[in-house]
Every structure is written in structure tokens, then in C-alpha cells.
Symmetry: C2
Subunit: 193 residues, 2 copies
């Protein structure tokens, strides 16, 4: 009879994600993963594969979580411009909640792994292109509705927003002062009005 998994897969992956997010891929050892999950090495290997495979699984999951964050911002918005404001508001909330100062899992992986030859590189690129497309679509729609000016193209404004988005996340690792961060967002989005 095959041995039955006696652990909650979602719960284990959540722990693994938090650990990789905090310590990075290279900073996390198999022993760290054993310690945080409470599973032994062979259970971890049999259920999820090696360290690379585990990382890939939770990193893909994080991309889904990020998509949900964007979807929420869009759902609660009255207009495309409002959706852009919501996205930045959501990032601000993520920063304020990040008391440990772990930063953004994607940006951490980007600086650690994006110039190496790993499957992570492709996942990250796909995710970043998705963010650019989302911004570009919102800008285009906002321009059509005359809510956003046409001083620049949807593509250029999308890159500008994408860049500001990452900058805000990085700045949130230095300060979590609400007014300071809110002001950066305010100054960033003025250009669209």
C-alpha cells in the first residue's frame, strides 16, 4: 500500500514560500526547509522534488496571488484611472503590512536570479510582461474615455508606471512611513491626469 500524505500541502507550501521570500533561494538550505515544514527530507523530495522544484512551485503560486491582487484593484474601480490608483494603493498596503521588511518576492527573485539560467527567469519575464500589458490596457481605455491625457502612448506610460511600481516597492524597504509613500504615489500619478 502506498504511503499516504499526512500533511496539508497548501500549508506546507505557504511555509516554504515565506522562507524563500525571506531568505532568498541561495540563502535557504534543504535543512531550513525541513525545519520550517516539519517534514523530513525524503517526504519533501517525494512530494515536491528538489529545492529548485519547490522554489518554482511557490514562485508560480506567488504569480497567481499577484494576479488576484490586480484583479481586486480592477474589480473595485469606477474607471481605468481609478484602477491604476487602486493598484498603487494596494502596493502601499502590502508595504505597510511588511513589518519584517522582506520586500517583494518578485523583486527579490529578480535581483537574485533573473540573470541566471533558471526557469524562474522565464516565469518572471512572463509576469512582468503581464503587468506591462495590464497597465497599457488601462491607460488605453482611460485615454479613450478622456480620463487620461494623450501626452504619451499607452506603452510608454505603462513602462513608466511599471518602473514607479518597482521603485515604490524598493523604497518601502527603507521607509514604511505612510505619508511619505502616499506622496510618492501622488507625484507619480499626477502625469496621467
Amino acid at each position: 500500500m502506498p504511503r499516504v500524505e499526512v500533511f496539508d500541502r497548501g500549508h506546507v507550501l505557504e511555509k516554504v514560500k515565506e522562507l524563500f521570500w525571506s531568505k532568498g533561494f541561495n540563502g535557504t538550505s534543504m535543512q531550513d526547509l525541513v525545519d520550517v515544514t516539519g517534514l523530513n527530507r525524503s517526504s519533501l523530495y517525494n512530494s515536491f522534488g528538489n529545492k529548485e522544484a519547490l522554489f518554482e512551485t511557490v514562485f508560480k503560486q506567488y504569480q497567481e496571488d499577484t494576479k488576484s491582487l490586480f484583479k481586486d484593484a480592477l474589480k473595485d474601480a469606477d474607471s481605468p484611472l481609478d484602477a491604476i490608483h487602486n493598484i498603487f494603493k494596494n502596493i502601499l498596503h502590502l508595504i505597510l503590512e511588511d513589518v519584517e521588511g522582506k520586500g517583494c518576492f518578485n523583486l527579490n527573485c529578480k535581483t537574485e536570479l533573473s540573470h541566471t539560467d533558471t526557469p524562474i527567469k522565464a516565469i518572471l519575464k512572463h509576469s512582468e510582461e503581464g503587468t506591462l500589458q495590464l497597465f497599457s490596457g488601462l491607460i488605453k481605455e482611460g485615454q479613450q474615455q478622456a480620463l487620461i491625457n494623450k501626452n504619451d502612448t499607452p506603452e510608454n506610460y505603462a513602462y513608466y508606471l511599471f518602473s514607479a511600481f518597482q521603485g515604490l516597492r524598493m523604497t518601502g524597504m527603507l521607509t514604511r512611513d505612510y505619508k511619505t509613500l502616499k506622496n510618492i504615489i501622488h507625484n507619480t500619478l499626477i502625469i496621467l491626469h
Copy 2:
């Protein structure tokens, strides 16, 4: 008679910096350092200390290099506003030259180490506060000379620029397209005019 160092210290540290920059602190092993420098472990330990000490030495050196970059931007500028433009131009050049896609050593260290309890955290914080002060000083001067508007305070504009500066560096890891990056800079700095 004590043994004499028969290597070029500056040359060795340059190799070490490039390696840490590319692979990160955790991704670099003592063996990697032995391989890249051509020195054996005991020479490395005796001359520079352990991996942490080596990292700290080259990271401090990088802060000096960054200061020189800012000084150059200021030296060649006709006005405080021009100096800000030059700083962003210099970042753009750094990105275009970064064919390997290693990104910014400071931002790589920030995501990897800033929430850990290492001396790097304090060096990085000091450096970031220096950048904020530099921007704030330039904005203040520019406002006094009526070259930069007074729609926001020097401190708030400084945080905005600091955030954009980091965002641009991160965006430069996705694309090195000159026009795209130049356009982000253009849109970022419009607000000051």
C-alpha cells in the same frame, strides 16, 4: 620574516566585487572566491578576513564608486535641475552597459540582506540616506533659483526621485531599450519643471 603579499590588492577586490555583484552574498562560496581571485583560502583569509569581511570591504568600495558617479553628474551640470537630469542619464548609461543584466549592486544587496542583521544593512541605509539628502539639496537649490516648482517640498520630491531612481534600475533588468528607458526618465522628471 613575514610573507609579503604578492598580488595586486585592488585587482583582487575588483574581481571579488564583480563576483558578489553577479552571484549575491549567499550565492558565492569561498571556493568561488578562491577560483576568481587565484588566491588560496589561507591567503584570502589572512589578507581580507572571512567571506563577510570581504563582502563588506567591496560593498563599502561600491558606495565610494556611487558617490563619484553623483559627483560627476554634479560637476558637469549647469544648474541643480541639470544635475538631476545628469544623474538619471548616468543611470541610463550604467543600464545600457550592463550586458550581463547584473543590475545594481546596492539593490541586489538590499533585497538579499537589508532585512537581515548584518553590517551591510547599516552601510546601505547610510548610503540611501545620502542619496535622499543629495536629491533634497538639489531640489531646494533648484526651487530657490526658480528652476524647479514649489508644488511639493524638497524632502517629498527627493523621495519621489529616489523611488524613481530605483524603479529605473529594476526596469533596466527587463529591458535595455534606450528609447523606452529615456522615456521613463522624461516622464519622471516632467513634474519638477
